[in-house]
């Protein structure tokens, strides 16, 4: 039996845990967050994704209480947070630098917040032991932060921020300091811990793979605004703008002019070339200029002319062999390059294509996403 899909944002009766209402944050003349409205629901793993300077960290710091909005309101569980200082919020944060207290042991670091609450000693010890177990740090309880490895420090920081059982956990680039292998492994651990504890996580990252791996929903940000909020697969397959398409993964963008035709649109993209065809739910007027976004792995490459409607002739300009994948950079009419990707599913297959070969690129009518200017 299939579990119901976790998607509280589709349920109109669900009350959001966090509400940004028309929030603007200015630092002097610089507008870091521009009139932003967004709901985040309980038990979500919400990722804020964007290049540096897009305002994602400011959003998180406003949730933690280190910054106050210049305009607008932030509500957590229905309560306006504008006058609540960081130490009075049921919100904890895991810092990018981990910010472990160097003069305290791992145990005391994790116990720090509990001691502030004035809990009885045995209760604190039990809770810290539980956190140590959860993050597999039992053996390091009495070490100081500089006596453990980076990955262990990351887990101490996580344990410390989870110890008080916050309603909301904020993670600021939590895996940025780890190497690629450890990062991947830790991503799954994070998801595991999030599911086990049932805490709402908001993560800030500039790493799109990380956001896609861990998040229930991803918000792509640019210059203080959220450009698109959607599940990872929607973000990837149905980007709402060239910015999102380009920011997440690799994409070919072809500019053209749309004309309604049958069940979709014909797009004229280069002189003396047959138009490309794409289907979309968006409405385009006759003669409107548009962008066609096609992921490289959705383009097939062949030496024979294919039977599909969308096909473009070109020559192989470059080949990037990545082990599991090969990416072909194909020069097509109009001096543009289109990338096509194939999975190297066989170990010893003869890779027939080489530089300067004439090839055909083709894709289905639904492979491309039509985007407005």
């Amino acid at each position: 039996m299939a579990e119901p899909v976790f998607a509280p944002w589709t349920d109109p009766n669900e009350k959001p845990l966090i509400q940004f209402k028309g929030v603007t944050k200015r630092f002097g003349d610089f507008t870091a967050i521009d009139n932003l409205t967004q709901d985040i629901y309980a038990r979500e793993f919400f990722a804020l994704l964007g290049p540096s300077g897009c305002g994602k960290t400011t959003m998180m710091r406003m949730l933690a209480g280190f910054e106050t909005p210049s305009e607008g309101q932030i509500l957590i569980a229905g309560q306006d947070m504008s006058r609540v200082p960081p130490n009075k919020r049921a919100v904890n944060m895991m810092f990018q630098s981990y910010a472990l207290f160097p003069h305290l042991t791992v145990f005391d670091n994790i116990a720090f917040g509990l001691k502030r609450e004035g809990k009885p000693k045995d209760e604190i010890e039990a809770r810290v032991a539980e956190m140590l177990r959860l993050t597999r740090l039992e053996r390091f309880a009495q070490r100081k932060p500089h006596q453990i490895s980076g990955g262990q420090r990351q887990r101490v920081a996580l344990a410390r921020s989870l110890a008080k059982a916050p309603k909301l956990l904020l993670l600021d680039e939590p895996l940025g300091a780890l190497d690629a292998k450890l990062r991947q492994q830790t991503q799954f651990e994070l998801v595991d811990i999030q599911e086990k504890t049932g805490t709402t996580f908001v993560i800030v990252t500039h790493d799109q793979e990380e956001a896609m791996t861990v998040a229930s929903r991803v918000a792509v940000m640019d210059e203080g605004r959220i450009v698109q909020v959607a599940t990872p697969s929607e973000i990837y397959e149905q980007p709402n703008s060239v910015y999102v398409a380009d920011f997440i993964g690799e994409v070919n963008i072809i500019n053209g002019v749309a004309t309604p035709q049958g069940d979709g649109y014909d797009i004229a993209w280069a002189e003396s070339q047959p138009p490309l065809h794409a289907q979309t739910t968006r409405g385009f007027s006759d003669g409107q200029s548009c962008h066609l976004a096609i992921r490289p792995e959705k383009i097939s490459i062949s030496t024979e002319e294919p039977e599909t409607r969308n096909k473009v002739r070109g020559t192989v300009h470059d080949i990037a062999y990545l082990g599991n994948l090969s990416t072909y950079h194909v020069r097509v009419p109009g001096e543009r390059i289109i990338k096509a990707q194939t999975a190297n599913t066989r170990r010893l297959s003869r890779r027939a294509l080489t530089w300067e070969d004439d090839v055909w690129l083709s894709w289905t009518d639904t492979a491309a996403v039509m985007l407005e200017e």
């Binding site: 280190f66 904890n92 810092f95 630098s97 910010a99 003069h103 008080k164």
Partner: protein, 271 residues
């Protein structure tokens, strides 16, 4: 590693001789058996023994130590607070003026500091005594403390304080439980610096001391005007000892702290 050449050896010897020969002579003559300072008549500790009989010197020593302990403690509290505001509060109105004014006493001639304090104390009708010396010493040693502490605070990771706030500390608790323990070495070496500065100050103390309280440097200075006695040599030797101990401890404390910091930074880079 370069070889230790003859040239290096000579310059080192000359340099150190220039710095320490006078003091070495003073220390040697403090163990002189003769009453004449410049004639060596065998080893003796009689001047140290006589020193212990000299009520006036012992009183002055006691005053000096009390002044040094109290003034350096007050200076450390005030200096740390000033450093914290300078480094943490960001750009507030008049910040540049404030920082300039805190560091000005470092370069202000002591005579002027002393004179202005004297005028102030007379103006407000405060009788000169141990209290006025303490106030004066606090004034000039506070800026040394704030220089030492602020240089440590500049490299202090701000997110540690934010983490403390995030985990439920009030701003004051965050300072007491996180910031202070971490910058403690700088605060301690600031205290030791203020302590030794107060211990050997003559100029400012002579402006602000009254008949009821005299510090050791004043006592020595006035005694020397009547002629150098071996007793003074003994006393000076003891003071050199105390100051040296203070300075060495201060530098050891800050050196150990910086070594540990480096080790932590390296560990962080490795990670």
């Amino acid at each position: 590693m370069k070889r230790f050449s003859a040239f290096n050896a000579v310059s080192l010897t000359l340099g150190f001789a220039f710095l320490y020969l006078p003091m070495i002579i003073l220390v040697i003559y403090s163990f002189n058996a003769s009453k004449l300072v410049t004639v060596w008549a065998g080893f003796s500790t009689r001047w140290y023994a006589e020193l212990l009989q000299n009520e006036a010197f012992l009183d002055a020593a006691w005053v000096t130590i009390r002044v040094a302990v109290v003034s350096s403690t007050i200076a450390t509290v005030l200096g740390t607070m000033a450093a914290y505001v300078l480094v943490r509060a960001g750009r507030f109105h008049g910040r540049t003026l404030f920082s300039g004014m805190i560091y000005a006493p470092l370069v202000m001639p002591e005579v002027i500091t002393g004179l202005s304090l004297l005028l102030l104390f007379i103006g407000i009708g405060l009788d000169r005594g141990i209290l006025t010396i303490i106030l004066a010493h606090t004034t000039f040693s506070m800026c040394y403390v704030s220089v030492v502490v602020s240089s440590r605070l500049v490299s202090f990771d701000r997110s540690l304080e934010e983490a403390a706030l995030d985990l439920g500390c009030t701003p004051f608790e965050a300072f007491r439980l996180v910031t202070l323990p971490i910058i403690a070495p700088a605060v301690i070496s600031g205290w030791l610096l203020a302590f030794t500065l107060s211990l050997d100050d003559l100029v400012i103390a002579s402006f602000t001391a009254g008949p009821s309280a005299t510090t050791l440097p004043i006592k020595i200075f006035s005694a020397v005007r009547l002629g150098v006695s071996p007793e003074i040599n003994a006393l000076s030797t003891i003071m050199i000892g105390i100051v040296t101990l203070g300075v060495i401890t201060a530098s050891l404390v800050s050196k150990r702290a910086s070594i540990r910091q480096q080790a932590e930074a390296q560990a962080a880079v490795r990670a």
